[in-house]
Subunit: 365 residues, 2 copies
């Protein structure tokens, strides 16, 4: 028996997504996966601790009902507008399976997953896993969002694509997009459009209202980054009830673990705490950006919890190694449009100082 | 814009899986979703509590590495034989996506998801979600597993089906299957064969060694039922590294939440505690079975943590309602092959007594 023959050809040919390293090295400063440097609110930790008991033997709420109710109240929509996932990554994958035909089933726009480059490196992986057709369009100068008329002129963007993703603020550049410019795209786009707001709490504006105004628009959010809950895997989508219900039909029945639901509910009860963290992260980001600029780096203005910077003296890939030698981990993406940059997660002020010290040492050598 | 047109026709036509009810009714005796009546080990709860801290801000181990290492050591295999999922349901869904072509892509055996009836009611839902072709063969008398020669004579079973599921012990009947008879099927089957051992800790034998002997055979296990961890969503597969690696490529990067991993690792450190629970559940099962039989019910011999019983005097569906009126929740499946039975989860002895009291009251009316 040839074992490979048991596996779908599509899957055999896949390359798995490579998540940022999670190494266990003593003293390592980890600025590579955009985790929040600050722990969750003590109230969240205490709510989770209180829920650790014999109820573990029971299934969690299958529809994350209490969490969805609270999200709906906060966002001024109905629970039928909300679906909760095992991290927003699960929901992004579900969206492709709900809205996009595999290329072997349907050609043309119905099979297209579309996004700008650079953006979240998971989109192509999810598209390939489903056997969808990828369509990419480069962002403009300084990672600007092309306007619908620019996109029409460029002819590459498909306004009827089954599914399009916009990372807003953009990752890995950190560039923020205004609600008004996003609305122009929402108006022009005929297929489903997901505004992936994973980093929006560090930005000037969010576009949530567009998901409630345009029936083909979905907002993706996560508790991982801004709310320091990476460990417990909770993300959500807001959108039209018909789209949400399609996603709901194809998710696993108990997709969100119980303590993740508890943690997310408690988070929403203590938003003031997190607003304090956002301010700290933003202050550190602005200081780091200006100090890096003063050292000659070209730093993209960021509205996220990371900065994207083109280094001087050595290539970005060399910087990656030199920083790692000094126990500082940042992220580097080897695509043509990103290979000249380092993505540096905003840590604590102490971590930023250590990073800047290392940069100065490397420059001085 | 017609919103339904944004959704794949396949998904539009789906009926979602209906999980057993999780109602919050005071005093309700919940014998409907095969949860364990006993809480997890105090050592597990304490390990989880200890892990509730600032580390929440960090991603969990993306490959569940410490848990996979421990599972490999216990099962006498390599970590490359093990994949961990967000409950075994996630892995069952991944298996269909990794090994089965949608019917729109490929006709014949390559698109077939095959299972016996009755068995786990999720299989057809997962097959439909993927657009696969379902092939079902009825179990034999008293839910016996047909032998390969019986299957050949029956002509309906496809020995080349891309993916076949055997629930062992069977759900909803509880019928246990021996390793030897399962091995006959493993030998005869050319496609991937998943032995779904969700309830195996309550059975006389398990078939784990078959997954290490036959490269097309995978064993599915879960921490939910026997290990009282429904709430935290952890299941796993054991199988050939090539099949495991195919599944690994298409799973979400951080599919298993951090505290679920912690809880599962701690569970494996305290297996003795759980063996005590298994004995208690089995003793209650045997007592409940014989008392129900003495009241005239036809009770299938069970090797699981539930019994499947054909009631007297009223139809099974009427019993469902009458029991619910007495705040006792059991499960009823309306398929032709199951509609005459009730599936009763084994609770505590006290719950079994309350259930039997209610049955006697209903019979006496």
């Amino acid at each position: 028996m040839k074992i490979a023959n048991l596996i779908r050809p599509l899957v055999r040919e896949l390359h798995a997504y490579v998540p940022g390293e999670q190494p266990k090295i003593a003293g390592l400063i980890k600025l590579n996966t955009n985790e929040n440097p600050y722990p969750p609110s003590p109230k969240v930790l205490s709510a989770v601790k209180k829920a650790v008991d014999g109820r573990f033997r029971l299934y969690p709420n299958p529809t994350s009902q209490p969490l969805r109710q609270k999200l709906a109240a906060i966002h001024g929509c109905g629970t039928e507008n909300v679906i909760v996932g095992n991290g927003s990554d699960e929901l992004l994958a579900l969206a492709i399976r709900a809205f996009v035909e595999p290329a072997e089933v349907s050609k043309g726009s119905r099979s297209i997953v579309q996004y700008f480059t650079p953006s979240y490196s998971l989109y192509p992986v999810l598209a390939d896993t489903h056997g969808a057709t990828k369509n990419t369009v480069p962002l403009g100068k300084h990672f600007a969002l092309p306007t619908p008329s620019e996109l029409k002129r460029g002819k590459q963007w498909d306004f009827k694509a089954a599914l399009s993703f916009v990372t807003t603020p953009n990752a890995p550049s950190g560039r923020g997009y205004g609600r008004a410019e996003l609305e122009e795209l929402c108006k022009a786009q005929k297929g489903v459009l997901i505004l992936d707001e994973a980093y929006v709490d560090f930005a000037k504006e969010n576009a949530l209202e567009l998901a409630l105004k345009y029936p083909n628009v979905i907002i993706s959010r996560t508790f991982s980054k801004a709310y320091s809950l990476c460990f417990q895997r909770v993300g959500y989508f807001i959108g039209h009830p018909e789209l949400i219900s399609a996603l709901d039909k194809i998710r696993d029945s108990y997709n969100v673990n119980g303590l993740g639901q508890v943690a997310a509910v408690a988070t929403l009860d203590d938003l003031e705490f997190y607003r304090g963290n956002f301010k700290k992260v933003i202050a550190t980001r602005e200081r780091l950006s200006s100090e890096l600029a003063s050292l000659g780096f070209t730093v993209s203005p960021s509205e996220a919890n990371f900065v994207f910077a083109k280094p001087v003296k050595f290539s970005a890939q060399e910087w990656l190694k030199k920083l790692r030698d000094r126990k500082i981990l940042v992220r580097w993406f080897g695509y043509p449009e990103t290979k000249d940059f380092l993505r540096i997660t905003i840590g604590t002020d102490k971590e930023a100082d250590a990073f800047l010290r290392a940069v100065r040492q490397i420059l001085a050598k």
